[in-house]
Symmetry: C2
Subunit: 151 residues, 2 copies
């Protein structure tokens, strides 16, 4: 199934999610890993649409999300740069655009490796705090931990 | 905000709903009213998109759905005919297309006033039974009632 760019924008305006998680990670010098993710979840009856989106972006993995739901998940940074470029060319029309802009900013910071230094990581966490699905408690704990480490 | 037809298809593939309800109605000779409805529900933060869709279809009412959610609801038969014509020209890409085809069939039957006669009404109820959000219990009760009335 061939997808029209505007169809993709409309569908993602409805069903897409731009999300950035920050998790403890012992192998990272800074102690934390930034995990940005673009995700579209569908009932299994529409798994074909997820595969079409995967072909459209030439990126991502289709996998089971939860029970009868599947997701297309794009996590690779080079792929997310493509996703960001696409939605900058074809802007979202819902308020998801606000989260997308923040997501795009974080992706750009990561390509500059700013998430590997404390000030960059703190900026990224500050941005995620203003995003729609922010976990404020978790972010506060991480920021406190970063400050404790550096005194 | 100007909407592209393909964006509308993508958004409705994600967020739209084609639904046909059948309710008891004393003023109808047949005793029941067929209530087809095209609906798009959004969080209140995106109520503007619902108004854009209303302008796009030149039809419908934007109203509160539940708590912080709003809906664009199109119920007028002449408007639903326009909606059907649009999605026949620009087909949905998800399995929602299956429900849409049944919805379109019911709308056509209603323009021929077939829902006002028992055989047409029964056919419509049979179709709704195969749709995604079918209330099988309710449909069975109505069909039984129609058969009881005509012996």
């Amino acid at each position: 199934m061939e997808l029209d760019p505007q169809w993709v924008v409309g569908f993602v305006d409805g069903e897409g999610c731009f999300y950035v998680d920050v998790n403890p990670h012992q192998e990272m010098a800074i102690g934390y890993q930034v995990l940005p993710e673009f995700r579209v979840v569908q009932h299994e009856r529409d798994v074909q649409v997820l595969y079409s989106l995967k072909r459209f972006f030439h990126c991502g993995v289709v996998r089971r999300n939860h029970e009868d739901r599947y997701e297309l998940r794009i996590r690779k940074l080079s792929c997310l740069l493509e996703v960001v470029a696409f939605f900058e060319r074809y802007p979202l029309k819902t308020k998801k655009q606000v989260d997308f802009r923040k997501f795009a900013q974080i992706i750009r910071m990561m390509t500059e490796k700013r998430h590997l230094a404390q000030d960059g990581l703190e900026q990224i966490i500050d941005i995620t705090l203003t995003m729609n699905r922010a976990d404020k408690q978790k972010a506060a704990t991480i920021l406190q931990d970063l400050h404790t480490k550096t005194g």
